[in-house]
């Protein structure tokens, strides 16, 4: 037998390092140009959100009526709005708001959704029925209307918009996790874990959860993208950020009347939303390909 072992190890193909699934994923992620581009955009906006405000030329809420609606120039890169505020500075600050909303809304909905989904998928039976019906109901709601209703209850503010977005995204995560748990439950390594005498709780924690979480990461990244759009949409309807917060959707809504006269007030906030969302979408796609090639939209 030792001879055999030697033969085996004598193979020319010996990968001497432990290449874990994460490393493997990173490798394939790195290969994708679009994923890298997405990451670059995301990192750029994250950095912008963190350190950008320290460097912007003008205090964002400083009103200067003599400088209203100035076209982009070397002084005001993206022009000024109807308060004479520098749009560039406001967009930089707005990155912080949009990213915060996107990120936390997704964290909340992912945590709650995963919790419900795991319970539903793992325990099944009547709990599953109840939770699944609940998800059905939530999904049958036109989500934007639901968000509007939630904001109407809580009062319009960025924080409440965040809560509304978190709520409408719960069933998406819940369903995803539930189906993933159901499929992981059928995997042979779970059967194998039971065969060695492992308890259900341990199987859930050690085997089912880690393997079910991958789609959550992917979905989470993609959901940040949609959450940012949803926050902007609520802001656009006047149900999101409060004045004078430089939230991008609100900036768009505030500048609608200048579509003809001062289009820069609309173009730049819109571009900022689109780019950020694009970044997260690209990154999410890359993550999906790297982590979970089988997963589909």
């Amino acid at each position: 037998m030792s001879e055999l072992t030697q033969k085996v190890s004598g193979q020319p193909i010996v990968v001497d390092q432990a290449v874990g699934p994460w490393k493997e994923a990173w490798r394939s992620f790195k290969k994708s140009k679009s994923a890298l581009a997405g990451t670059f955009i995301v990192v750029f906006f994250v950095l912008l959100a963190i350190v950008g405000p320290l460097f912007v030329p003008q205090a964002i809420n400083e009103q200067n009526f003599s400088m209203r609606l100035q076209a982009p120039s070397s002084q005001f890169w993206f022009g000024t709005d109807d308060f004479g505020r520098d749009i560039f500075s406001r967009i930089v600050h707005g990155a912080r708001l949009s990213l915060t909303v996107g990120f936390f809304a997704v964290i909340f909905s992912a945590v709650i959704g995963s919790f419900l989904g795991i319970i539903s998928g793992y325990y099944g039976k009547w709990i599953d029925t109840i939770i699944s019906r609940f998800f059905d109901i939530m999904l049958a709601f036109p989500s934007i209307l639901l968000a509007i209703a939630v904001v109407s209850i809580l009062g319009p503010s960025l924080q409440n918009a965040l809560i509304a977005i978190a709520i409408i995204n719960v069933p998406n995560f819940g369903r995803l996790i539930r189906s993933k748990v159901l499929s992981v439950k059928q995997e042979e390594y779970v059967m194998a874990a039971r065969a060695i005498g492992m308890s259900d709780a341990r199987i859930l924690w050690r085997h089912i959860l880690p393997n079910s979480m991958i789609p959550v990461i992917v979905q989470g990244t993609l959901s940040i993208a949609t959450a940012i759009i949803e926050a902007a949409a609520l802001g656009f309807l006047g149900l999101g950020a409060e004045a004078p917060q430089p939230e991008w959707g609100k900036m768009l809504a505030d500048s609608r009347q200048y579509l003809m006269t001062a289009p820069w007030t609309l173009i730049f906030p819109g571009l900022a939303i689109m780019l950020t969302v694009l970044g997260f979408n690209l990154m999410g796609d890359g993550l999906r390909d790297a982590l979970d090639p089988k997963m589909k939209s």
């Binding site: 009103q63 009526f65 004045a243 009347q257």
Partner: protein
């Protein structure tokens, strides 16, 4: 195989429709321009069709049961009242009543009606019809005819004791108490005379099939979209109306409405943003129309809440805000800086009061004197555009900046409009933006309604209560001598100025815009007017 056919079918249908669209597009454009040029050529033969764009749909076309201005914009053209306002002011003019007399004690009013007037359904207009309408309103269930209740009941008691026909064309009103603005009230849109036959026949659905005596007949209502009216060929005023058809179309979004106007899809548009005024005046195809101001936009300071329970703080706020700058920036100058709670065009306006000038230093001093501790206040901003305040959010942002400058930190808070009103009614706001558009151009409709303590929990949002003011205002209600009455109002305004329950901001000039060839349009300060004199040049 079957599958393929299905796909092919779908494909062909779509291609076909696109081709059709492409072909007919050309037709449409040429036709469109044709009609356009004919319209502007104002030839006698071609029908004159005017499209009026506005922000919201009517609730109902029965003027008696509604309270919203959008409904009156339409009903003014279908119905007429016994008396009518002047073209651009609230002076009393004959309407369906050609003459009227008032008794000495102010308790009996006799109206002589126009003869030969017919409702659109052919019913004769006469004294019986007037009596029928007033009886309908008097006998209505609580809440059914809200305006009738609010204008003709005082303290739960009916003002109108009886309405009787003393001849085919004579109507006599008997009041329980004198009411100074009675004639102005009678002229208000809600008290338009409807066809008794139609009301009885339609019952609850009268609001869908309105029948009046007005210059236009109702044709069609596509809810949330458009209402079409046609010329009343039998209209009793000779030569009117000049238009053949009137289409009132909803564009909820201000920008969308303006775009439609620019594109020639509509001829008249209300709710124009002051910021767009410049682009309209510089466009030769368009004209900017200013509606005479009869409103006030103000920053209410709830006098039951800290820190505004202190008059010094309220005054300080008044000093802190540069109202002129706000008017210039957000009304684009299409407003007067407000000093008093009512606009200067209303009789009884106190011209001696010049208002608080912009003086941040003085504001700081007052705050120091008041011992204001620098607590953050909530500054409420309305979420929707109102005629008296085109953009509450932005004005709030500006005010926030001014308050900050004198050391009052504030947080801008917004609720949905319905919630906003309710919460403000409950006195939950520290400082809030609101406003008022007059109904009948009477001082009572501003001062008593907005600042009388009886209206706390209703329109007195700032919870202002001053016994002296209350006494002056109730006295004025029954005082029929115009001079004396104005004196009372001037006194009240002086006290209100000192007490500063509000920081009045502006009396805006609501803007409309129209195609340059639209003539004869005279916007009315109340916001609703008949378009009978409008024509295309």
């Amino acid at each position: 195989m079957r599958n393929k056919k299905w796909l092919l079918g779908l494909f062909l249908t779509v291609i076909l429709s696109l081709v059709l669209a492409a072909c007919s597009e050309d037709d449409a454009t040429t036709e469109g321009t044709d009609t356009g040029s004919k319209d502007s050529a104002s030839e006698e033969e071609t029908p004159q069709v005017l499209v009026f764009g506005r922000g919201g749909d009517s609730v109902s076309l029965d003027p008696a049961i509604v309270t919203d201005g959008e409904s009156y914009k339409v009903t003014e053209n279908i119905f007429e009242t016994l008396l009518s306002f002047g073209d651009e002011d609230t002076t009393i003019n004959p309407g369906l009543a050609k003459e009227w007399t008032v008794s000495e004690d102010g308790l009996t009013y006799t109206f002589e009606l126009q003869e030969g007037v017919k409702f659109h359904d052919g019913t004769d207009f006469n004294a019986e019809a007037v009596v029928f309408n007033f009886e309908r309103w008097t006998n209505g269930e609580a809440g059914e005819f809200p305006y009738y209740e609010s204008m003709f009941t005082v303290g739960g008691e009916d003002v109108i004791a009886s309405v009787e026909a003393s001849g085919d064309y004579t109507v006599v009103f008997t009041l329980t108490r004198a009411q100074a603005p009675f004639l102005k009230n009678i002229a208000m849109s809600p008290f338009a005379i409807a066809s008794p036959t139609a009301v009885e026949a339609a019952g609850e659905t009268f609001g869908d099939n309105p029948v009046g005596t007005g210059p236009f007949k109702f044709v069609e209502w596509k809810r949330n979209d458009s209402i079409t009216l046609a010329k009343n060929e039998e209209y009793w005023q000779e030569g009117l109306p000049k238009l053949d058809q009137l289409i009132i179309k909803v564009y909820p979004d201000n920008s969308a409405r303006l775009n439609a106007l620019v594109k020639g899809e509509i001829d008249l548009a209300d709710g124009i943003n002051p910021s767009d005024a410049e682009s309209i005046t510089s466009n030769a195809d368009l004209q900017l129309i200013e509606r005479p101001s009869m409103n006030v936009g103000y920053l209410g300071l709830t006098s039951t809440r800290k820190p505004f329970d202190n008059v010094l703080v309220r005054q300080a706020v008044n000093y802190a805000i540069d109202k002129k700058a706000i008017v210039d920036a957000f009304y684009q100058g299409y407003a007067d800086v407000a000093v008093n709670p009512m606009p200067s065009s209303i009789s009884g306006y106190n011209e001696e009061i010049t208002g608080y000038e912009y003086d941040p230093e003085k504001a700081k001093a007052l705050l120091a004197e008041a011992g204001y501790n620098g607590d953050e206040i909530e500054l409420w901003a309305m979420p929707v555009a109102r005629p008296y305040m085109p953009d509450g959010q932005k004005i709030a942002e500006a005010i926030q900046g001014y308050l900050e400058a004198v050391g009052i930190p504030s947080k801008i808070t917004t609720y949905e409009w319905a919630t906003y009103l309710e919460k403000a009614t409950n006195g939950e706001a520290d400082a809030f933006l609101l406003g008022w558009t007059g109904d009948n151009g009477d001082a009572d409709n501003f001062l008593y309604t907005l600042l009388g303590s009886a209206n706390i929990g209703s329109n007195n949002y700032s919870y202002y209560k001053n016994e002296e003011v209350d006494t002056l205002l109730t006295q004025a209600q029954t005082e029929t001598d115009e001079e004396k009455r104005n004196g009372l109002y001037k006194q009240a305004q002086a006290i209100i100025f000192e007490e500063a329950p509000w920081a009045p901001i502006a009396h805006s000039t609501p803007l409309l815009a129209g195609k340059a060839n639209v003539k004869g349009y005279l916007p009315h300060p109340t916001g609703s007017e008949s378009l009978q004199n409008v024509y295309f040049e």
